[in-house]
Amino acid sequence: MRHPVRVIALLFILTALTGAAALPGQGAPAKLRVAMILPGTIQDADFNAVGYVALLALKNTLGVEIAYSEQVAVADAERVAREFIAAGSNVIAFHGGQFLTIVQKLGPAFPNVNFIMESSGRIEGLPPNVWNIGRKFYQGFYTLGVLAALSTQTNVIGYISGVRLPDFVASLNAVKAALREFNPRAQLLYTFVGDQNDPVRARQAAESVIARHADFIIIQVNLGAFGVIEAAKAAPRKVLWTTFYTDKYTLDPSRFAASLLLDFTKPYREVVARIQRGERGGYYEMRPGAGMSLGVIRNVSNETKLRVLQVFNDVVRNTRQIEEITDRILE
């Protein structure tokens, strides 16, 4: 009888020990599995690529497990998110500003999952397990507007945007404000081509503004930028251009003016690190100086460069206030 009792006791102790090892300690966060949902292809060298880079950085710096699904339409995003959750992901990141309603729906439905979303700013009433990255594009575009205002020779500036999103409307208004302040004689020709990633349409739009004597184009489309750049190359006069998200200097070094660079690594790393520390939700503002920087300015005078950098630094330090108007285009 003594031997069976010892064996059972030994088994009990072993089971208790292995069980304790397998279960996380009380309050200790489970291993994070971050799944990112991207609206476009990660090979776009633009918005989706920088999102993917941020995701890889999470794996490399914070040691989290990652997964992603690209080219997810808004209509499919909820299904994809639910599949990730069912597969064990406990942080769902929606890379893009078009997923708000899905996050509002999924947040309460999955209280143990953290959601990360992007928007144009603070949003009241978000579920407690949602992190909101507010992207203040307009503050960066204001600086590009200053650059355009000080660089144009014809006083005609083109602005090629894609979809009429609130962020982009705010950016357009910020550029208009910059022109009023730094070159009131300059005229802004703007157009929304209806697609962020159609370079053919973007080229058509760019050729139209170039035909009306624009010699500086501010680009606010993603893959569409390549169409604008081709139109600038084919123009009868020198047409400078700016882009955003990534540095596209090498595409045409002689006409590139500047890029508004967005580093999503910074907000995502901070948000996920805070989730690891047990925080559930919050707000991170992405703006000049916080994930948003101005790349090297080229093909303009040194005086213009210095002036633009000074303005950018003022925006970073919040010593220059720019009005954010998202609901209408100022005429």
Binding site: A45, R164, T191, D198, V200, R203, Q204, S208, F226, A234
Partner: protein, 310 residues
């Protein structure tokens, strides 16, 4: 200068017209033989990615365009095998191939290029000013200083028209599309004619796709075909299956598409979404009018089985 007519608009119209026209000519050839190729949009995608990757790897525009034609022909041959040899539903196979091609385009690019923060780019086709003509004041730079594919598209229109309506081969092809049984009785090889037309049409559709990265953007992106294949399919109906009218339709549609951006710059009271749908509204309106009385090839979408009882 008028918003609705200025030299830049005419020049842009010609540039934009090319993919519509060349793809529609390919579709027209195919349909004239009695085969409906609804994989057209997908074949353009494969044409675009193939042209870009080959031109990027070799530095040769001609090589890229030829490769695009080859890829288009290959996909069309697959369609022909299913639709002609196996007598499968042309619509079902075509739609299946469309979906496959869209996926293949993305896959090929991912395999060769991978994920980068800087998109690889190629030089677009250089302009080829026609001697003497390009120097004509006013119209010279607008009409005669385009890249080679713009001229090629116009030459192809004439060539397809001549082939279809001025050669015995064209007559046989049309007979196959109208009444394959009668053609067969007359000793025409229906299967061979349909294969030839479908493959040649696929090559032209591939060329149309290849023109987008090589002629317009200098780079490839998923979704860059942007429905132009479907518009080309519509243009064949608009053109009542004749190359000259297809050319007119392509010019008209390209003009409307180019015009919307000029109008957008001046008509700020008009919502941009309305202007963006303008070409498609125009297409629907025109089609409603044009389709009345238009006669498609009689045997289109009907697989031919010589053993079948009439």
């Amino acid at each position: 200068m008028s918003v609705v007519f200025d030299p830049q608009l005419v020049r842009l119209t010609l540039v934009v017209m090319v993919p519509f026209l060349v793809a529609a000519l390919g579709e027209l050839l195919t349909e004239r033989a009695g085969v409906l190729n609804v994989a057209i949009e997908g074949i353009m995608v494969v044409g675009a990615v193939t042209a870009f990757l080959v031109a990027f790897s070799t530095g040769s525009h001609a090589g890229g365009l030829l490769a695009a034609m080859g890829a288009g022909a290959l996909i069309a041959a697959l369609l022909a095998y299913f639709a002609i040899t196996l007598r499968a539903s042309q619509l079902t196979v075509g739609l299946g191939l469309f979906v496959l091609c869209v996926g293949l385009g993305s896959l090929f690019y991912r395999i060769v290029i991978g994920v980068r923060l800087m998109v690889p780019q190629i030089r677009t086709l250089p302009p080829l000013p026609l001697p003497a003509l390009a120097a004509l004041p006013g119209i010279g730079p607008v009409l005669f200083a385009h890249n080679a594919v713009v001229y090629l598209a116009l030459v192809l229109t004439a060539a397809v028209s001549l082939l279809l309506f001025r050669t015995s081969w064209g007559l046989r092809l049309r007979a196959v599309g109208e009444n394959p049984r009668a053609a067969d009785v007359l000793g025409i090889d229906v299967v061979a004619m349909r294969y030839a037309a479908t493959i040649a049409g696929g090559a032209l559709i591939g060329l149309a796709g290849g023109y987008l990265p090589l002629g317009i953007t200098g780079t490839y992106s998923d979704g860059m075909v942007g429905g132009r294949g479907w518009i080309a399919l519509m243009l064949v109906i608009f053109g009542r299956w004749t190359p000259a009218l297809v050319l007119a339709g392509a010019l008209l549609f390209a003009y409307i598409e180019a015009l919307q951006f000029k109008v957008a710059l001046v008509a700020k009271a008009v919502p941009p979404q309305f202007l963006l749908m303008l070409p498609y509204v125009f297409a629907i309106l025109v089609l409603i009018r044009v389709y009345q009385g238009a006669a498609a090839p009689e045997a289109i979408m009907r697989p031919y089985d010589r053993e079948e009882r009439a």
